[in-house]
């Protein structure tokens, strides 16, 4: 009986040692050559530390005229005070053939944790000048105005909102 158990155990041991050796060799040959990829960090456009909000009712009442006003609310969601928050407003047209946009900037000097600041912009929303007459085939429909608002701190915390105004 002991002999039978001995032979069975020996055979099983030899089998597993051989199988293990083959498995080891196979793993050596197939060592993972691909690197683990970390997801591309998207540009920190709208982090949780800083939020921007626009008054949508006021947006609806804007007219394509000079001296339009808009309030933006910047909120510090970070646990520490933020300093020198640059708030910019870029007024452009959907028609990218128009060369210029209008750019406005203000700075919020200090924004305590959980605090908000209202930034008031007065800007020109009248039609951007077309340098040369273009056939209607280029853009056969009226272009919308685009207001792109960014709030950025020197440490790189930022938020962005883009408003698209119907013609």
């Amino acid at each position: 009986m002991r002999e039978i158990v001995f032979w069975i155990s020996g055979t099983a041991l030899a089998f597993f040692i051989t199988a293990g050796a083959f498995l080891f060799l196979a793993n050596l040959a197939n060592a993972p050559s691909d690197k683990s990829l970390t997801p591309d960090p998207s540009p920190r456009e709208s982090g949780p530390d800083l939020t921007l909000s626009l008054d949508e009712d006021r947006l609806a009442s804007l007219r394509p005229l000079p001296s339009q006003g808009l309030d933006l609310v910047v909120k510090n969601e970070y646990s520490k005070q933020l300093s020198d928050v640059n708030v910019t407003l870029d007024v452009s047209s959907e028609n990218t053939a128009l060369p210029d946009s209008r750019f406005y900037r203000q700075t919020v000097e200090k924004l305590p944790p959980g605090g908000t600041a209202t930034v008031h912009f007065v800007f020109d929303l009248s039609a951007l000048e077309q340098p040369v007459a273009r056939p209607p085939a280029a853009v056969p429909e009226p272009s919308r105005k685009i207001l792109e608002v960014r709030a950025t701190t020197p440490s790189g915390v930022s938020a962005v909102r883009t408003a698209i105004l119907p013609p």
């Binding site: 002991r2 158990v5 001995f6 069975i8 155990s9 099983a12 041991l13 597993f16 199988a19 293990g20 498995l23 993972p32 691909d34 690197k35 683990s36 990829l37 970390t38 997801p39 591309d40 998207s42 456009e45 709208s46 626009l54 949508e56 947006l59 609806a60 804007l62 452009s92 047209s93 959907e94 028609n95 990218t96 053939a97 060369p99 340098p131 040369v132 273009r134 056939p135 085939a137 280029a138 853009v139 056969p140 429909e141 919308r144 685009i146 792109e148 960014r150 962005v160 909102r161 883009t162 408003a163 698209i164 105004l165 119907p166």
Partner: protein
């Protein structure tokens, strides 16, 4: 003792074999903003552009690694994968069509201007530009151009010979004219495209008179002679470019004359006619109520990409018609996107596995606020989408 050892060994091997491997799994990088696609254009669809601008006339480079298109009239191209836009013309240039002649040369047809009275349309010019020349200066290849199309050896150009006659010219990639056909084409050619073997072209011709009519002509490039194959007296207009396939010539034309007073939008049907001539028939396989807008034949000549509607009230979608099987496949199931229906607003990839269309979400009448920069927004502006259509259905 021995049997216990053996059992332990067996258990150890089993545990080791079933244990979770430490091998790391690759995680695909996050898709950049321009690759996020709104639903409705089908799985696998990817955006090729983003941001504001009225985009159109997509055109793949012969190698398929770049795509050119117009934005608000000026011409740009970009890599088919990710990469920056490259501008080919100044912003005051207005192109109506762009075609690649080689992987580094683009030709552009500028938009026709109208005379100061606004009544007479003055014909366009064809310009040529090469990549990497550092400036956006264009070389004028031909003036007085009515239409252009890539041909077997270069660009085929139709010139206006007076108000009621057209003439065909073949140019090489360098812009040099190597064949000027003296056989005139009666009428003004509005579009042309080559036959599958490249030896002939089909021309859409417009006749001005008391009643405007449209014809289809076939022109033999070897013999230098053309002939009319179909006259469309009751159909007011051929829309876009007829497509010469292995199953005949397909074209889009008015289904019925527009209602008097212009109360309703004219409807267009897809027709087929034999290159030998005869009466055009409604294209088999698309259905009676189908409204076609723009068509392009696949590189293998066996399929037709169509932007159209299953009926006049249905949303526009991209369809692929298997010409031999006469079966229409809906590629997109769009409900709330506006797919552009201009004659040049779709393009097959050189391998015939995808079609580029131009689409946007339905514009809102109220201000919309998005939490991303303008140049990364997709849905609010016309952008280019590459829609996979699979290989040949044959």
């Amino acid at each position: 003792m021995l049997s216990r050892t053996a059992l332990l060994l067996i258990a150890a091997f089993l545990v080791a074999g079933c244990a979770h491997s430490d091998r790391e799994i690759s995680i695909a990088p996050l898709a950049p903003a321009a690759d996020r696609v709104d639903p409705g254009l089908g799985p696998g669809t990817r955006a090729l552009s983003s941001g504001p601008g009225y985009k159109g006339s997509p055109s793949w480079s012969p190698g398929g690694d770049r795509i050119a298109f117009t934005i608000d009239g000026y011409v740009v191209d970009k890599p088919a994968g990710s990469g920056d836009l490259r501008r080919w013309t100044t912003r005051d240039f207005v192109a109506e069509d762009t075609e690649w002649i080689s992987d580094d040369t683009l030709t552009m047809l500028d938009a026709a201007q109208r005379s100061s009275s606004g009544a007479e349309e003055i014909s366009s010019s064809v310009y040529r530009a090469r990549a990497g020349e550092g400036s956006m200066e264009l070389e004028e290849v031909a003036k007085g151009v009515l239409a252009m199309s890539p041909g077997r050896e270069g660009l085929m150009v139709v010139l206006a010979n007076g108000a009621y006659e057209s003439g065909l010219v073949l140019t090489r990639g360098s812009g040099e004219v190597y064949r000027l056909y003296t056989h005139p084409i009666q009428g003004r050619v509005t579009a042309l495209s080559p036959s599958p073997d490249g030896n002939e072209v089909v021309l859409a011709v417009r006749h001005q008179g008391d009643i405007e009519t449209s014809d289809l002509h076939v022109f033999d490039l070897r013999k230098g002679k053309g002939r009319e194959i179909a006259r469309l007296d009751s159909n007011p207009e051929i829309l876009g470019t007829p497509q010469w396939t292995k199953q005949g010539i397909y074209f889009v034309a008015g289904k019925e004359p527009p209602a008097e007073g212009g109360g309703s939008e004219p409807l267009y049907d897809l027709y087929r006619v034999s290159p030998d001539g005869g009466a055009p028939e409604s294209a088999p396989g698309v259905g009676e109520d189908f409204v076609a807008a723009s068509i392009r034949v696949s590189p293998d000549g066996r399929r037709l990409a169509i932007i159209g509607r299953l009926n006049p009230k249905a949303p526009a979608n991209l369809y692929v018609l298997d010409l031999l099987a006469k079966s229409l496949k809906s590629v997109t199931t769009n409900e709330d996107m506006e797919i552009k229906t201009g004659p040049d607003d779709l393009a097959w990839s050189p391998g015939g596995k995808s079609v580029v269309i131009v689409a946007r979400g339905t514009p809102s009448t109220e201000p919309e606020v998005r939490a991303e920069p303008a140049d990364r927004i997709l849905r609010d502006f016309y952008n280019l989408y590459e829609v996979p259509v699979g290989g040949s259905m044959q």
